[in-house]
């Protein structure tokens, strides 16, 4: 009876895993390898790959620069309005990418902020900059979440001891908090990069899906599936997966 329950749970786990791996496998096995290779060599695919990597790297840097102080502030300090800030962490749940994209579109396209930026020649809507903004806003809550829980797991006494030994808050942060958070920071960097690479809805709405202009890999996948170019679509899907895995292995 007991063994049945255990077996049942494990069976379900394998069933779902199996289906999922079958789905991933079909991505790699169904297409013709030659056609994938040809698709890889097209100007469109090369453009899209380059743009994806560049925008994701830039977004990643900005996300990390912002999420480390935000995660640290949420974990270590209490300040008025903290609970409001903390709701960022839960945002991705209640706020689908597509809606986030729409909100950003309205913010930068139709509000005073958009007009203000445009006066300085900064255009976000339907531009490459829009890709970075979309990726940034999509990935940041994830990064903050990981960094926040990383700092939460570090006993604040390490910092207290450092303070009592004569080091200020900033020095303590660099001497103690950051080295102790090393693993969490690495993890969040990878996840941020992968998240930026895969952002679709936000980018589609804010930056548009223009052929060979704001075309990142997810857009390539989408555009080509719409035109019925399955090989191009599958190739960009494979590229997306491979890049994510390389990122995970590289760190």
């Amino acid at each position: 009876y007991g063994i049945n329950f255990k077996g049942f749970c494990i069976f379900l786990s394998f069933l779902f895993t199996f289906l999922l791996f079958l789905a991933i496998a079909s991505l790699f096995l169904i297409p013709n390898p030659l056609e994938v290779l040809n698709a890889l060599k097209t100007e469109e695919m090369i453009y899209s790959l380059k743009l994806s990597i560049i925008t994701s790297l830039v977004s990643m840097i900005f996300v990390m620069l912002l999420s480390v102080p935000i995660g640290y502030a949420l974990s270590r300090y209490s300040f008025p309005g903290k609970s409001v800030v903390k709701s960022i962490l839960d945002l991705p749940i209640a706020f689908p990418e597509l809606v986030l994209g729409l909100a950003l579109l309205l913010l930068f396209g139709q509000s005073f902020i958009g007009k203000f930026l445009e006066d300085f020649g900064i255009k976000i809507v339907f531009t490459k900059l829009g890709i970075i903004v979309a990726q940034f806003f999509t990935a940041l809550p994830y990064a903050v979440r990981i960094i926040y829980s990383t700092f939460e797991e570090i006993n604040p006494r390490y910092e207290l001891v450092s303070r009592s030994l004569g080091y200020g808050e900033f020095e303590t942060f660099f001497n103690v908090s950051l080295p102790l958070a090393k693993n969490g920071l690495f993890a969040s960097t990878i996840i941020t990069f992968a998240r930026c690479m895969g952002t679709f809805g936000t980018v589609l709405i804010l930056a548009g899906g223009s052929y060979m202009y704001t075309e990142i890999l997810p857009i390539t996948l989408y555009l080509n599936i719409s035109y019925g170019n399955m090989e191009m679509a599958i190739t960009s899907g494979i590229l997306l997966i491979i890049i994510s895995f390389i990122a995970i292995l590289a760190f």
């Binding site: 006993n155 006494r157 390490y158 207290l160 001891v161 450092s162 303070r163 009592s164 030994l165 004569g166 080091y167 200020g168 808050e169 020095e171 001497n175 103690v176 080295p179 102790l180 090393k182």
Partner: protein
Amino acid sequence: MNFLKIEDLSIDLGEFKLVDVNLEVKKRDYLTIIGPTGSGKSILLETIAGFYKPEKGRIYLEGEDITNLPPEKRNMSIVYQDYVLFPHKTVFDNIAYGLKKKIKDKEKIREEVTQITEVLKISHLLHRKPTTLSGGEQQRVALARALIVKPKLLLMDEPFSALDIKTKENLRKLVKKAISEYETTVLHVTHDFDDVWSLANKVVVMKNGKILQEGDVNEIFYKPSINFVADFVGTNVLDGEVIGKEDGLTKIKVGNCVLLSVDDGEGKVRLSIRPEDIIISNNPIETSARNEFRCKVEKINRMGNLVYLTLNVDGIMLRCILTPNALYSLNIKEEDIIYALIKATNVRIIAKNVEGECRS
């Protein structure tokens, strides 16, 4: 002027709190803070260290108001139960950490580290990472890290409670040596009376964020001022009534017995007699001690390397502690009649004008 002075310190962190704590510590005092879990002992240390802002009250160190000073400007070191050594630094770098902020001369730093590690017997560990050390070794490193900056105040939060008995004894000796060498003033939170007896000259008893009693070690253990403190330190507590004076001693009637005490009092009083101060013999002894009672041994309990006797002195129950060797040489068994001798100086009046029944 007191070295450290705390005035009306109050803070409420929900689970833990301090309520109007007043405390004065002299230079080179070794003060232990005892009390049950949740009594606010640790938070007192951490507030003194500057980790929490008090809601009320002031802290003065050497006459200077340091209430609003950040921790790094207070020149206090803290040692925790769980060592809190930086895992990414070697033992050497852990110990040198505080010093590096103050002096840049690497040779000087190396000298100072060598000195303290010799005192604490950890010179051979300098190149190891903290996680590879035993608990006792880690705590010695933490002590070295705390002492090397020659702090005005060393704060220790149950520093030995994660260690086994042997290591504890060892570390107490080292701490004693090190703090005398570095002339440190110490505040030490503990729940282990051994720490109190072997290290402290002052004791503070806390409960529910308040200081219940403070004083010399002997004062607290031999004359606990409040019932809770007496209970907490394990003394015999008796209720009686003062019936007069005799040769300058106070005569107190407890049940059918009369006890003599050096303390003054009148009316109903509460007495404390420590179980290890009751002297046992098989025959009446002729001594200067005035309280001698014939009593029956109700019960003999062996607890650890001690024997607890429950003595029935004409209806009053007294707990008394002996070592097995004493029990052997006296040849005492349950139901035996023996004589209990209590010096008048060991019968302490801990409360006056008490209502209530005789307990014990």
